[in-house]
Symmetry: C2
Subunit: 502 residues, 2 copies
């Protein structure tokens, strides 16, 4: 049915988004006359508990093929629209988790449907190039109109990669290469370096390290880079060999931040002191810190915030000790905090040396300063090095963000969401605490992990999809087309759940 609608779209211009809405769905009230309302549904609609019988049967089938321990339910992406995810059993949920924060402008957005049916784009999907050696002729132009049009301050260079982990892995490689070139000065690598690196030995494979923070999450590849800098959950780490790299404490702040300015400042000072101590210690150990990696908000680790002042001082410490400063915006980037990059909130013109991204950007990759560019080709390389077809979609996403002022929308709906969370934690202090957020990148803590998990499941059965993070936090990760009225829709439903909660 939806497919026939979609096929009709092929022969129509894009000015028909109304047709995209599934028949019989009401259109939303005047209070929500935003573009998104034209193609999405107006409310959740639940037919079965989640997962329903069809999802359970499909989970059983997939269980014969791979581990399904993490599968929530199966989705009908054809029928999903905007903020609403439809599952295999026909349940329609307001989605505040959006594929682990990776859906920028909702499901089946007309602008993306138009892009995929544009004849000029077809070959970009059908012919995936080895970008590092044989890029398409429009590649520089596409990078300029997509990724570079939102480049962080001080960065004019970008390298695409296939996923978030690869992006961090390769950003780490870039930092190590930069560090050694800096160390060598004019002279090239020695014969001993050239030979020793082939057997994984020093000096060719030097004993360098990356400083990360407890609670940080930078990917799960076994990479010394990624997994060795990830410290959010046991399940990510157990049984996988790792590294003796420095791990600094991340500030444990008290919320709401404005009420605990002095206490939080002391906590941040303690952590920054520890960072400098670790840099010195590891240098003495003979494992100098080539780079520092940090998330502007620790996401997977529990939505842990720090002040802008903390990050500016951390960035200065990196500069002072000759370490590259790598800001991981894989989850915080793409507009969800109300600015395109979370680090823009710091208000500094030189936020980082490397900024990695993925998820809402639809392609992985990292921006970097000129000095971080490897001296030779093939030093940062793989077969695909990203996927230009994703840049096609990203260009459209950026157009929609600008045309519909989505960053302002995010700020507005984020305020409504956070305000509502404050009210709910005041109303249910025995269940909720520590509401916090920036834009729609919000979170709240439950009493304990069991309560957190129960609240998420009960809310899902009432038609709102949420995600957890950290030990007992609920994270809110709606797409950028999430409006104030979607926030109120969620808050009403969540309030019902809390009221009923025993």
């Amino acid at each position: 049915m939806a497919s026939s609608l979609l096929s009709r779209q092929l022969t129509l211009s894009v000015q028909h988004s109304l047709r995209l809405a599934a028949p019989g769905c009401r259109y939303v009230s005047k209070t929500a006359a935003q573009p998104v309302s034209e193609f999405e549904y107006d409310a959740p609609s639940m037919k079965t508990p989640v997962p329903g019988p069809k999802s359970k049967e499909l989970t059983r089938q997939l269980g014969d093929i791979q581990n399904v321990g993490a599968v929530n339910f199966f989705c009908n992406y054809e029928e999903s629209r905007g903020n609403y995810l439809v599952d295999a059993d026909g349940n329609r949920m307001l989605d505040l988790y959006t594929q682990i924060s990776s859906v920028p402008i909702g499901y089946n957005h007309p602008a993306l449907m138009k892009a995929i049916t544009n004849p000029n784009n077809l070959t970009a999907f059908v012919n995936r190039p080895a970008l590092g050696i044989l890029p398409p002729e429009n590649f520089p132009e596409k990078l300029i109109e997509s990724l570079l049009s939102v480049a962080p301050a001080g960065m004019t260079r970008v390298q695409t990669m296939a996923c978030g982990s690869c992006s961090n892995e390769n950003a780490f490689k870039a930092m190590f290469i930069w560090y050694k070139i800096k160390e060598r000065g004019a002279s090239g690598p020695s014969a001993e370096e050239m030979s020793s690196c082939m057997i994984n030995q020093g000096p060719g494979c030097p004993d360098l390290s990356i400083l990360s923070f407890m609670g940080g999450f930078h990917g799960r590849t076994m990479g010394k880079c990624c997994l060795a800098t990830t410290h959010s959950k046991v399940i990510h780490k157990l049984d996988i060999p790792s590294f003796d790299w420095p791990i600094a404490p991340f500030p444990k702040l008290q919320y709401p931040l404005e009420q605990f300015v002095r206490e939080n400042a002391q906590e941040e000072a303690r952590c920054l002191e520890e960072v400098e101590d670790l840099i010195v210690k590891w240098r003495q150990k003979g494992k100098p810190v080539a780079g520092i990696i940090v998330e502007p908000i620790q996401a997977e680790g529990g939505d842990n915030h720090a002040s802008h002042d903390f990050f500016i001082k951390l960035r200065n410490i990196a500069r002072k000790h000759g370490c590259a400063f790598h800001v991981d915006e894989v989850q915080t980037g793409g507009g969800t905090t109300g600015k395109f990059w979370a680090h823009e909130h710091w208000g500094t013109g030189d936020p980082a040396d490397i900024v990695s991204f993925s998820k809402k950007m639809l392609t992985g990759g990292y921006y970097f300063k000129d000095e971080l560019q490897p001296d030779k080709g093939y030093r940062i390389f793989n077969t695909w090095m990203g996927d230009p077809s994703k840049n096609v979609f990203l260009s459209e996403v950026l157009n929609v963000i600008r045309r519909e002022n989505l960053l302002e929308e995010v700020t507005r709906s984020g305020k409504a969401l956070l305000q509502g969370l404050y009210e709910l934690q005041a109303q249910y202090p025995h269940l909720l605490s520590r509401a916090r957020g920036l834009g729609t990148f919000c979170a709240i803590d439950a009493r304990d992990d069991v309560t957190r998990d129960n609240l998420i499941l009960k809310t899902r059965d009432k038609g709102v999809l949420l995600g957890g993070c950290g030990e007992m936090s609920i994270r809110f990760r709606p797409s950028l087309v999430f409006k104030e009225y979607h926030a109120h829709q969620f808050l009403n439903i969540f309030n019902d759940v809390l009221a009923e909660y025993k």
Copy 2:
């Protein structure tokens, strides 16, 4: 122009591949009445040296954005067809490198153009799911009709990933988890293991290792897994920290193999002995070998072959010592050797515990045996875990391979290619030696690296795209629609180059 052709196709059924051919291009002779001839060009056509002025200008532009040290030239993928890659300057080259062996059935194959314009497929491209938690309802069905329909012997399970390195990284994780679960037996992880892994320490992060072979290439992520097992070129390794993991010698065989059976068998026995010694040594070191990774043909390392007997014995050594056996088919898989997987040539019903793939499979991932499945969800996990839109294309590729008997075609055209290489090395012994290959997965050595690089450039200027590997080898990696007459077309041009070579 081509785009208008493509747009016309939107409104047409797929039975019009003739229209896809650029106007004015002749159709190939009776001797080549294969389907591929219907939509591709009939010969190279060179207008400028490569790279031409337009490619040079685009390289300059891209140079402001990223390192372009590896860029050969820019491509016009819209105008490329079948075995012919068209560059930004309008040069049309017979492509025997195919985006580092990652194009399965040529450029703009009608079957893929049909898939991308099929309305039922659109949402798979527009809505990229977090596959590990919210798979699309047709995911099991699509896995069964695509990846599982070509599963290696003894494997009914598959995990998709975004790229080759991620595939090997996660396959390594699976082997480490499997190894530790086996070691623990009934008892779960200890409290000490749970806490120590969060700070990258043992016993939670155990000191396990993976045995790899000198000359092997398994990816470039900084991953202890991938880069630490890659030993093909200095440029891949220099300045990146790595691991004390065992590296075994890979047999250095004499070619043609059938003439040096006894010598080669001795060389292989020496390497296998070394493998067992290393496994014992590393166990004594307290860094037991959890897995062995090997390519059926070392590709990047120089197209180094070993006998079927070698691999079967190696597989038995892995079994004997309780190591998982990981066959990396990222480059050898997908039909290029004349069988769908290179390991099928070994003729054993139990070739491996894990087989990783990417490139021609269009998606990364790995097949694995039941016992290699992690015990819990989220142990092998990331946001995307592949991209279902790639499975849409893979299904079509597999249909074309079956419908057009492409594996037989590959065997036939591979024979023609290798026979021609034998003749050329006999004719130009001062320039060429060691012709070798399986299917179209062929290679030949030049006198030295300078000669190799010159031959590749001179051949390119005459309209054939080749790649290098190892120190002085030329590798041939055509797509599966490469026919005997394409082999002859290449051989004629290469012969001209060699004849002129000073």
